[in-house]
């Protein structure tokens, strides 16, 4: 995208670049309809790139299997997470939606009436196999539109060497213990950080969610937005005090992103604790530099921990003659051979009951799997969330700055959520 922007700037002025890009991506989209009886002979999948090594490899193999089974060509376009929002938006502007789109949101598309619901394209066997909390998060106004492709759940990662050095026996169970442990770690000096907190724009909503869920807060309660509930204000005040009063986080947590900020600190052995997920574990295992363990998140008062779960979606666009082809796509994708192979290669977690059984034998995943069925998700079933999420990413970091005002920030977000985004 950026490269294209630069090229377009050279050609005619950067202000024109947005539309110039639009023409480019739209033109590349396959039409696909035609053939006998209005049935398509090819469909197009736009998939998000979870990893350079595995994503494209999986989908290309999948396309071959799909072609062998149905005789329909599956054109695969793998797009990086950085670009996929732009690309999908541009495709829709040009009336060139793909048949299947893999994204972390779906509700706005459902609201615009663009998608097939599960009634149209999922067989009963497949739908019955999906984990109920993911079915729920994929359901907009009573119909399921967002088919989960894979999931991840967060857990507290802690550096066991640092814990031993600081004389901490085990992972903290309450927020008080957490603060005390983080102080001990920070006191080790030499730039050691108690807790690496990424509240920068990349994925601030995830970091805040997991803390919020462990203080009995939520984004929505009983169908109403509760972004600025007393518990949530309390949670954000706690995060601010970690950063500003106790100074047990890395410098400037409101401007630290996850992948290029907090994770590297933990990977280099500089941070005692971080909230991570299975791909981080895979990286740490590969580097074999840092000794670590995972634990459930500490809760405010020591109650039952909640996990923050994330799932992405494979949504299907209504286009003439593609319904059967799309249905065949889902049938094949959710066959255990395919979906579990993909999830295993990418290091994520299953979205199906059969998948949970399949992965149960892997001891490394037990921390996550045990909590997966009870994992809380962000309200992706509400189209307003698609805007609220962006507002959270762009604003919540300000709350943990020295002059930040958590209550005011959450009040503004609540107003935004209630005003329909």
């Amino acid at each position: 995208m950026i490269k294209r922007l630069v090229a377009a700037a050279a050609a005619g002025g950067i202000a024109l670049a947005l539309t110039a890009c639009g023409g480019g991506t739209g033109a590349a989209t396959a039409g696909g309809s035609g053939g006998d009886g209005g049935k398509v002979t090819q469909i197009k999948l736009v998939a998000a790139e979870y990893s350079k090594d595995n994503t494209a490899a999986f989908w290309n193999k999948f396309a071959a299997a799909y072609k062998a089974k149905t005789g329909i060509d599956l054109n695969v376009q793998v797009v990086s997470w950085d670009d996929i929002d732009q690309q999908s938006s541009t495709m829709l502007q040009n009336n060139a939606a793909p048949d299947i789109l893999n994204l972390n949101a779906y509700a706005s598309y459902a609201k615009d009436g663009l998608l097939y619901s599960s009634d149209d394209v999922l067989s009963d066997a497949v739908k019955g196999d999906l984990l109920p909390n993911f079915v729920q998060s994929g359901t907009y106004q009573g119909k399921m539109y967002g088919m989960p492709d894979l999931s991840s759940a967060r857990a507290l990662f802690y550096n066991t060497d640092i814990f031993a050095k600081a004389g901490i026996a085990g992972p903290p169970k309450t927020w008080d213990e957490f603060t005390a442990d983080a102080k001990k770690i920070t006191a080790l000096g030499d730039g050691t950080v108690g807790y690496a907190m990424p509240l920068g724009p990349e994925e601030a909503q995830a970091e805040f969610s997991i803390w919020m869920f462990n203080n009995d807060g939520n984004w929505k309660t009983d169908g109403k937005w509760t972004v600025n509930s007393p518990q949530n204000v309390d949670t954000l005040n706690f995060l601010k005090s970690l950063a500003v009063t106790d100074k047990v986080t890395q410098n400037n947590p409101g401007k630290t992103n996850r992948t290029d900020g907090a994770f590297p600190l933990f990977q280099s052995g500089k941070a005692g604790m971080v909230v991570g997920f299975s791909p981080l574990a895979a990286t740490l295992d590969k580097d074999a530099k840092v000794h670590y363990a995972t634990a459930p998140m500490p809760t405010k008062a020591g109650g039952t921990p909640s996990t923050y779960g994330v799932t992405d979606y494979l949504m299907a666009f209504k286009k003439p003659g593609n319904q059967d082809a799309v249905k065949a796509f889902y049938d094949l994708y959710y066959s255990p051979d395919q979906v579990n192979t993909f999830i295993k290669a990418e290091g994520f977690l299953p979205v199906t009951k059969s998948g949970v059984q399949y992965f149960a034998s892997d001891p490394k995943l037990s921390t996550y799997l045990n909590t997966l069925t009870g994992a809380k998700l962000t309200p992706t079933d509400d189209p307003n969330w698609d805007r609220v999420k962006l507002a959270v990413q762009q604003n919540i970091g300000a709350a943990v700055a020295p002059n930040g005002d958590p209550k005011a920030v959450l009040d503004a977000l609540q107003a935004q959520a209630q005003s329909g985004g």
């Binding site: 950067i14 938006s89 663009l114």
Partner: protein, 329 residues
């Protein structure tokens, strides 16, 4: 233009059998009075490819941009209908617009002025004969040749709070006790971006000015020396005035280039929430894809405003600097 049309006449003359000598003046007059028809038609095959290219690359996207700016889009990118001027109104009412405009002015002016000053010195140096000049000239070109995204990404590593070599250096030589958060501290973010902006703008500017210096005839300087001018007098009274065309070119091109610079501002600023350090270009991008507005229409409206803004600025500058006099004289 002049050359193309005279070629056209020449081509017409070769097609038509050579007329008798006495008719020649009349034919010439006929061609003159028939300006328009003959010339434009015969010129078309030569102009055609360029016109098609301009239409496809400049005119069509511009029309699409204006159309998009007056449309109502869903967050998914679906066009829902016409929006009239509502997108423009929303951009003008955006609470962060003021910050963004101030940032843009600071960014363009600072990068422009610093680059020109540094480049004036550098161009003098590069114009002199010295051992290893070729190497130095190549070294100056490299920041220009490297992709802006790569350069910007490299600087995020150099300026990193935890691992950055700049902070390591500052602490090692005892200038600082604690690292500086170059890209996260609000006081340092804009200066850091400007420093990188200057770094990538200096090469081009230096070479434009170097070319300008080389175009100054040696005898003017010789005459000044004979008349007893000091080196400083020679520089301010002879070199600088004669450099004016080159300075003008460098300034105008840099205004446009720096104003439109996306990769540096975006990459160095990507960890910072909100719009506190955005210029109008990254503002436009965030409106479309990153902010809660997520509106293609607003972004397109901001894009149209950007084009108009830069046009006005450049035209105003050319007027003030009396471009014609400088370049013709």
């Amino acid at each position: 233009m002049r050359r193309t049309s005279s070629d056209g006449v020449g081509a017409a003359a070769t097609v038509v059998p050579a007329p008798p000598r006495r008719h020649r003046p009349r034919r010439a007059r006929a061609a003159d009075s028939g300006r328009g028809d003959v010339r434009s038609l015969t010129a078309l095959p030569w102009l055609g490819p360029a016109l098609v290219l301009i239409a496809a690359v400049v005119v069509y996207p511009a029309i699409e941009l204006v159309r998009a700016s007056m449309s109502d889009y869903s967050i998914t990118g679906l066009r829902k209908g016409s929006a009239g001027l509502a997108n423009y109104a929303k951009v003008l009412a955006h609470p962060d617009l003021g910050t963004v405009l101030v940032n843009t002015v600071v960014w363009v002016l600072a990068v422009l002025v610093l680059s020109l000053v540094i480049s004036l010195g550098l161009a003098q140096l590069l114009g002199k004969e010295f051992f290893g000049r070729k190497l130095v000239r190549w070294a100056v070109i490299i920041p220009w040749a490297a992709s802006l995204v790569i350069t910007a990404r490299l600087f995020t590593l150099l300026l990193d709070y935890n691992y950055g070599i700049v902070n390591r250096f500052l602490i090692a030589v005892g200038l600082r006790d604690t690292p500086i958060d170059f890209l996260g501290d609000d006081r340092w973010t804009m200066p850091s971006m400007i420093a990188v902006g200057v770094f990538v703008t200096v090469p081009f500017t230096s070479y434009v000015l170097l070319a300008g210096l080389k175009a100054i005839p040696a005898d003017v300087h010789e005459a000044a020396r004979v008349d007893g001018a000091s080196p400083w007098q020679a520089y301010t009274r002879i070199t600088l005035p004669l450099l004016r065309p080159a300075l003008l070119v460098a300034t105008v091109l840099n205004i446009i280039y720096v104003f439109n610079s996306f990769p540096i501002v975006y990459t160095l600023n990507d960890r910072n929430p909100g719009f506190a350090h955005d210029t109008t270009i990254t503002f436009m991008y965030k409106l479309a894809f990153k902010s809660a507005d997520k509106s293609v229409g607003m972004s397109a409206a901001a894009g149209v405003a950007n084009v108009l803004l830069i046009l006005v600025v450049v035209l105003a500058y050319l007027r003030v600097s009396r471009w014609r006099e400088a370049t013709d004289g």
